[in-house]
């Protein structure tokens, strides 16, 4: 069954055509990678999925729900979470607080006025958040202010925040960019570990090592259009893909 179906999506910025008639579908439970040279429109594509951008034309269906025109928080409430290229975390709050917020959002919805309850007395939220921190190995730092973390730890924190919502679909925008080899491998391990939960994942990645160790299906995007799609091993040998990458590199 398809969990995400994108049809005929176009997006232009002024004269620049960032997405050109993109058709894209993800099977439920799959790990689907999107690759492509810089400026291919990968991040624009994700932005269209989460409501940060509204496509000029086309539809985005998430299960039976049409995501086009929905507000970002509504899309998230429907079950789509995203890890950003530059981690979007609550830099002034502690790690525990960072994870408690999505845990509460999952339980209470988009708005709830609990002004008198003590947060630290809410065992369900505290335990849930702690568990999630343990899962990504950050429980030692639960009282550290998130802004002081290393980039790799920020990523892991953001991942924990997304996972604590139990999303149906998780979008990962270059989850290992700028990481050392060891950190990258840790992240791969982590992503493989959580795949047991049956979360569908769409991963944008530059690092082919990551793509090939995670993805079941790969879509190649170049200049806003899909130029190839298939199993990782097929994509590897596709001449169009090599041309797009090498051409991009030379230009």
């Amino acid at each position: 069954m398809e969990i995400l179906r994108v049809e005929g999506v176009n997006k232009s910025f002024g004269g620049l055509r960032a997405l050109n008639n993109v058709n894209f579908a993800v099977e439920e439970g799959a790990v689907h990678a999107i690759i492509g040279p810089n400026g291919a429109g990968k991040s624009t594509f994700l932005n269209c999925l989460i409501g940060r951008l509204v496509p000029d034309t086309g539809t985005v269906m998430f299960g039976d729900i049409s995501l086009t025109g929905m507000k970002p928080y509504e899309i998230n409430q429907a079950g789509v979470s995203r890890v950003f290229q530059t981690p979007e975390i609550f830099a002034e709050l502690t790690l525990l607080e960072n994870v408690m917020i999505p845990t509460m959002a999952k339980r209470d919805g988009k708005f709830a006025l609990h002004a008198f309850k003590r947060l630290d007395q809410d065992a369900e939220i505290v335990d849930g958040a702690m568990q999630m921190l343990e899962e990504v190995g950050l429980e030692q730092k639960r009282n550290v202010v998130a802004g002081s973390l290393s980039r790799g730890d920020k990523r892991r924190l953001e991942l924990a925040m997304c996972l604590s919502q139990d999303p149906k679909l998780l979008l990962l925008d270059e989850p290992t960019a700028g990481m050392s080899r060891a950190d990258t491998n840790n992240t791969i391990d982590l992503l493989q570990r959580i795949s047991g939960r049956g979360i569908t994942k769409v991963v944008i990645e530059h690092d082919m090592h990551v793509v090939f160790s995670l993805a079941e299906k790969v879509t190649v995007l170049a200049q806003g259009a899909i130029i190839a799609e298939g199993k990782p091993e097929d994509i590897k040998g596709d001449p169009r893909v090599q041309e797009a990458y090498l051409g991009g590199a030379h230009l």
Binding site: Y73, S81, E92, I101, Q140, S148, R151, G152
Partner: protein, 379 residues
């Protein structure tokens, strides 16, 4: 942070200590010349005002430059309640909270559609509108420049005007709300307000407000709509301001439009910043300090300065006195402006940050082992 160094017990102790400190102010403020009721009332009232302002600015980071409008609305409502219902302060307080809440809901609903400097300008525009209207066409309600006061001819439904011959002062079951009775009434209201603020700080709602300040993007991509949270904070904070406005009229039943001017909005910003935005105690401390120094400094004149600097040799005494006389008496606002700048430039976290910096300085040695856990590995 919220959870790290607070527990229900520690909060309760903190509140108890604070309550004792507030209620015994007449005693321990005596030696520095602040132990008289008029000033103590101001401490409590402006402390409450700043506490409410801090719930918005300190937690969400939205800088409102129009909070004085709510203070004014609260004041007018309180006086009207006196005029119509009678001199009991309780209905006045309740009515003031309700009206200022509605007022804040309307203004907040519009203003919060923008953030940053635009939000500040929108709130400023609304406050100026209210101020201008209070002075002009709303004169039947506000009594314009003269200010609104209770008259003998007012209906006063419950305590029978006309017959009652007593002075026109707020009166809580026989206790006139002036002097120490007035102070204790304000102090109790302040304590209630502080208690609520403390609960909000520790609550899920409080952490959502801090999330708004830190990263609204992440909030929306976490399925949360920031606007109702900020609007709720805005309304609560407007209610605090309205309550403070009502207290001003309870201790002195006169409401004037100048209370709504934007310089008054600036004053509450200064109080909050001076004490430390985002801390519980800071705004109250800031409010008390400003009201204290306003009182002390504006009462100074050259004579008192000569007495203070009398120990200096004459050739020094005169220049010192003439320079410092610029900052006292009429020139008190100059001191205020300079203070404002110094705080923003050198101590953006306010006095509370200063205090914690100093304590950290003293504690540095014993803590040596701990930071290794707290500091992050290099990137």
């Amino acid at each position: 942070m919220v959870l790290k160094n607070s527990s229900p017990t520690s909060d309760l102790i903190f509140f108890a200590v604070f309550a004792v400190a507030v209620l015994t102010m007449p005693v321990w403020l005596e030696p520095i010349g602040a132990g008289y009721p008029d000033l103590l009332q101001k401490f409590a009232i402006y402390g409450l005002f700043a506490t409410g302002f801090n719930l918005l600015f300190g937690l969400t980071g939205y800088l409102s430059f129009g909070h004085a409008a709510f203070l004014g609305v609260g004041s007018y409502t309180a006086v009207w309640t006196f005029k119509l219902l009678g001199m009991n302060p309780i209905p006045a307080v309740i009515m003031a909270i309700i009206t200022s809440g509605i007022f804040a809901l309307l203004i907040g609903y519009v203003s919060l559609r923008r953030s940053g400097i635009y939000f500040s300008i929108l709130t400023l525009a609304f406050a100026q509108m209210s101020y201008n209207l209070a002075y002009s066409v709303l004169t039947p309600i506000t009594n314009g420049e003269t200010g609104l006061r209770v008259l003998r001819s007012d209906p006063r439904l419950f305590d029978g005007a006309g017959e009652a011959q007593g002075p026109l002062l707020a009166n809580l079951f026989g206790f006139e709300m002036t002097g120490y009775a007035g102070f204790y009434f304000c102090a109790v209201v302040l304590l209630i307000g502080f208690f609520i603020a403390q609960r909000i700080f520790r609550s899920p709602f409080g952490i959502m407000l801090r999330a708004v300040k830190t990263n609204q993007n992440r909030m929306t991509y976490t399925g949360l709509n920031p606007r109702p949270y900020t609007l709720a904070a805005f309304v609560i904070s407007g209610m605090y301001a309205g309550l403070a406005g009502a207290l001003l009229c309870i201790t002195d039943p006169l409401a004037g439009a100048e209370r709504m001017q934007w310089t008054a909005s600036g004053e509450v910003v200064l109080m909050t910043i001076l004490g430390g935005a985002g801390t519980l105690l800071g705004p109250i401390l800031g409010a008390a300090l400003i009201k204290y120094f306003e009182n002390i400094f504006s009462a100074f004149n050259e004579q008192t300065l000569h007495e203070i600097f009398g120990f200096l040799p004459d050739f020094l005494e005169y220049p010192v006195v003439s320079v410092s006389s610029l900052f006292v008496g009429e020139g008190w606002h100059l001191t205020l402006g300079v203070l404002f700048m110094i705080i923003v430039i050198f101590l953006p976290g306010g006095l509370m940050e200063g205090v914690s910096r100093i304590t950290r300085l003293f504690r540095r040695k014993p803590q040596k082992s701990e930071p290794s856990r707290a500091t992050a590995p290099a990137e």
